[in-house]
Amino acid sequence: MEVSRFRADTREAVTDNMTTPYKFHGGVHPPANKAQSTRTAIAQMPLPAKLVIPFHQHVGNTAKPLVVAGDHVLKGQLIGLPEDGISSAIHASTSGTITEIGMQVVAHASGLPDLCATLVPDGKDEWIQREGINFRTSLNADVRQVLRLAGVVGLGGGVFPSDMKLRVGKHKVKTLVINGAECEPYITCDDMLMRERAGEIVKGAEIMRWALEADRILIGIEDNKPEAIASMQLAAAASNDDIRVVAVPTIYPGGGAKQLIRVLTGIEVAAGVRSTDKGVQCFNVATAQSIYRAVAFGEPLVSRIVTVTGNVQRAQNLEVLIGTPVSDVVAYAGALPDTDSYIMGGPMMGLPLPNAGVSIVKAANCIIAASPKLFPPAPPAMPCIRCTRCAEVCPAELQPQDLYWFAKSKEFGKAQEYNLFDCIECGACSYVCPSSIPLVQYYRFAKSEIWAREADKTSSDAARERFEFRESRIEREKQEKAEKLAAKEKAAAEAKLQAAKLAAEQAAASPDATMPAISTPAVAPPANDAQAKIQAAIEHAKLQAAAVKPKNTEQLTPQQLAEIADIELRRARIQELAGTDVETKE
C-alpha cells in the first residue's frame, strides 16, 4: 500500500483521525449508557471462595478434563486439553484444589448443565512456570500451538479459537482489522482496555500481522471513545508496523466483525464465506491483548475484563478470573435490591442468565444487573404490519418481515431461500419493531430447527445407506451360500459318478464277483462309519457332562437356586431361539 511506501514520513498521518468513505446498511442508535462504567480504572476483582470453570467455553469441541477431584492445581495449569479439530484449552484460574468435575448450570440460553471443574482457591494465587517465545524467530504453527494451549479465544463474544483464525490459507490476508468499536450499549470493557493497555493490544496486533503475513493493521474504534482513540494512536505511533487507528461512526451494530470490515475496507463478507478469502481477518482488541500475554509471557487466558453495570451502585470494569460466580461479581459492584435478573453481554445481543450462580466465562464481556424498571418487559406482540422498519435497519440487508413470516409458519425452506443464515442476530429489527415482535427469537428458533433437521437428514441418510448395504450384504451371502451348496452338491454328484464308474470298472475287471455284494459295502460303509463316530462322540460328551459334578453346589441358598433356575431357563430359551430363528432365516 502507498502508506507503507511512505513509511518514513507517515508518523503524522498515522496519528490523524482518519475516517472512511464506507458505510453499512441500516443500524440503530440505542442509548449508549456507557458513561456509568468508565468513571473508574479497571480494578482487580478479589479472589472468590469458589470457581466453577466450564470445559466448553469456546466454539468447537469440549476440552478433555485432565484433572480429577482432589488434584491440586496451580494458576494457569492446563486442566482441559483441546480436543481434535476446533477446540481450545481450559486452565485453572488460580491455585487451589479441584473439588469436583461434574455437570453444572452454565451461562447458556438453555439453562442446561454442562461439564465444569469446581476449584477451591488456596489463596496463594501461585502461577505455574511460564515462558514466552520470540514470535519473530518462530514458525506460524508454533505460535498457533502456543495460543491453542493458552486457551486464547475471541473475547468479543464469538469465542472462536484464535489459533484457527491465524492459519495462513491460500488467499493472502492484506488487512488485519482490530475491532475496538464496541457498539453494544452498556459495555465498556474494550474501551477501558484500550485506554489502559493500548501498548499490549498493539503488540498483540503485531504478532497477528506477523503470523498472517498481512500488509497493514486497521484499528476501528467508534468515535464515542475519544480517550481510547487517543491512547491507541499513541501506542500505534510507537510501532514499526503499518498501523492506522480509524474512528468509525457510532452506530449499532458497527462493531460486528462483518460491519466493521465493511466500514474500514469496503469489503463485504457474506455468510458462509471466510473473511480471509476476501483478504481480511478481524480480531477483537481484548483478544489481541491476550494473544500478546500468551506469546510474550506464556500466560494462558485465565482472566478477562468484565463490565459490571446496570442496576448496581458501582458500575465499573473488573479484571475477573474465569470461573468466578456472577453473584460474586455483582455483589462486589453492589447490586441494588430490585435486581431480578442478570444479562451476560449487552442489552441488544446479551444472554439472560439462568441464575446468578453461573460463572464468568471467556465470552462474558459484560454483566448487566437488570430490574423491571431498567428493562421493562416488552408489551404484548401485535401482528406484523409490514412497515419494513426492520428492513430499513437490518445491517445484513435482509427482509426481516418476510423471514418472520416464514419462521412463524415454519416454512424453513423459504426462510433459507430468503437468506435466514445471513442474519447476525444483532437485534436491530426487534429494537425498532412497532409491533414488539420478538423477531430475533423467531430467527433463532428457525435456525436451530433447520440445523436439527439437517442433522436428522444426515443421520437418516446414513441409516438408509447402512440399511441398503446390509440388505445387499445379506443377499450376497445368501447367493454365495447357494453357490457353495451347489458346488458341493455338484462335487458330491461327481464323486458318486466317479465311484460308480470305478465300481463298474472293478466289476468289469473281476467278472466272477457278484455285483451287489461288492458295490454296497464299497460306498455305504464310510458314511455309516462317520455317523457312528459322531454319535459316539455325542454320547461320550453327554456322559462326561453328567459325570462332572458342579463345584460348590452342595449348600446353595434358595436365592442362588432360584438364580440358577432362572439362568437355565434363559439358556434353554436362547437355544430354542437360536435353533429356530437363526436357522430358518438362513
Binding site: 452454565v106 406482540a381 433463532r444 438408509r464 440399511f467 434363559r570 436362547i574 437363526v582
Partner: protein, 184 residues
C-alpha cells in the same frame, strides 16, 4: 365461421404436437415419487408400518397401497409432509399404528449381555458391534431407535433410552406469542 374453426383446430394440433414432444423430450426415468417419499421417511427401518423397511413402505405409498399415517417415528410432521407431497388430506395416527414416542436409542446392559448375536442379526442398520460370546454394544450414533433389537434379546438386556436434552442438541423454542387470548 370456417376460418375460426380452422384456426382453432390448427391451434389444437400445434399444442398437441408440443405436448407430445414434451412428453418424449422431458420423460422421467424410474419412479421419482418413491424416492421423494423415501426421503421424507425417517429411515429408522423399524417396520412399524408393517413393511420390511422404509423403502418398501415408500413404494407401497407410491402405489397407493398404504396409508400415510403408518410411520410413528416420522411423527405428525412426517404425515404432514407426506400429505403435502402427495396432495392428500392430513391423517392423524390411529387404528393399529403405534403412537409416536420420543426419540430414543437402544442401550445394552453390558453386565447382562451373554453375547448371543441375536440383536446384531436383528439390527437393520448394523448399529450393534460384537461377536459370538463377546459382549455387544450399541453404536448410539448409528442407532435409529427402531426397537427391533429389544424383542430378540433372550436376556432382556436391551432397553430404549430417551435422548436427553443437552446443550449440544438443545434447540431454541418457538416464541410464545403473547397475543393469544388469555382471558377466560
Amino acid at each position: 365461421m370456417l376460418s375460426a374453426l380452422l384456426i382453432m383446430s390448427g391451434i389444437a394440433v400445434l399444442l398437441g404436437a408440443v405436448l407430445g414432444y414434451a412428453a418424449i423430450r422431458f420423460r422421467v426415468e424410474g419412479n421419482p415419487l418413491v424416492e421423494k417419499i423415501d426421503a421424507i421417511l425417517p429411515q429408522t427401518q423399524c417396520g412399524q408400518c408393517n413393511y420390511p423397511g422404509c423403502k418398501p413402505y415408500a413404494t407401497a405409498i407410491a402405489a397407493g397401497e398404504a396409508d400415510i399415517n403408518r410411520c410413528p417415528p416420522g411423527g405428525e410432521e412426517g404425515i404432514q409432509k407426506l400429505a403435502d407431497l402427495l396432495g392428500v388430506e392430513f391423517k392423524p395416527f390411529g387404528g393399529d399404528t403405534n403412537a409416536p414416542k420420543p426419540k430414543s436409542v437402544a442401550f445394552i446392559d453390558e453386565n447382562t449381555c451373554i453375547g448371543c448375536t441375536l440383536c446384531i442379526q436383528a439390527c437393520p442398520v448394523d448399529a450393534i458391534a460384537g461377536a459370538a460370546k463377546q459382549m455387544h454394544t450399541i453404536i448410539s450414533r448409528e442407532c435409529t431407535g427402531c426397537e427391533l433389537c429389544v424383542a430378540p434379546c433372550p436376556v432382556d438386556c436391551i432397553s430404549m433410552q430417551v435422548i436427553e436434552e443437552k446443550i449440544s442438541n438443545w434447540k431454541w423454542k418457538y416464541p410464545v406469542f403473547a397475543l393469544t387470548p388469555v382471558k377466560q
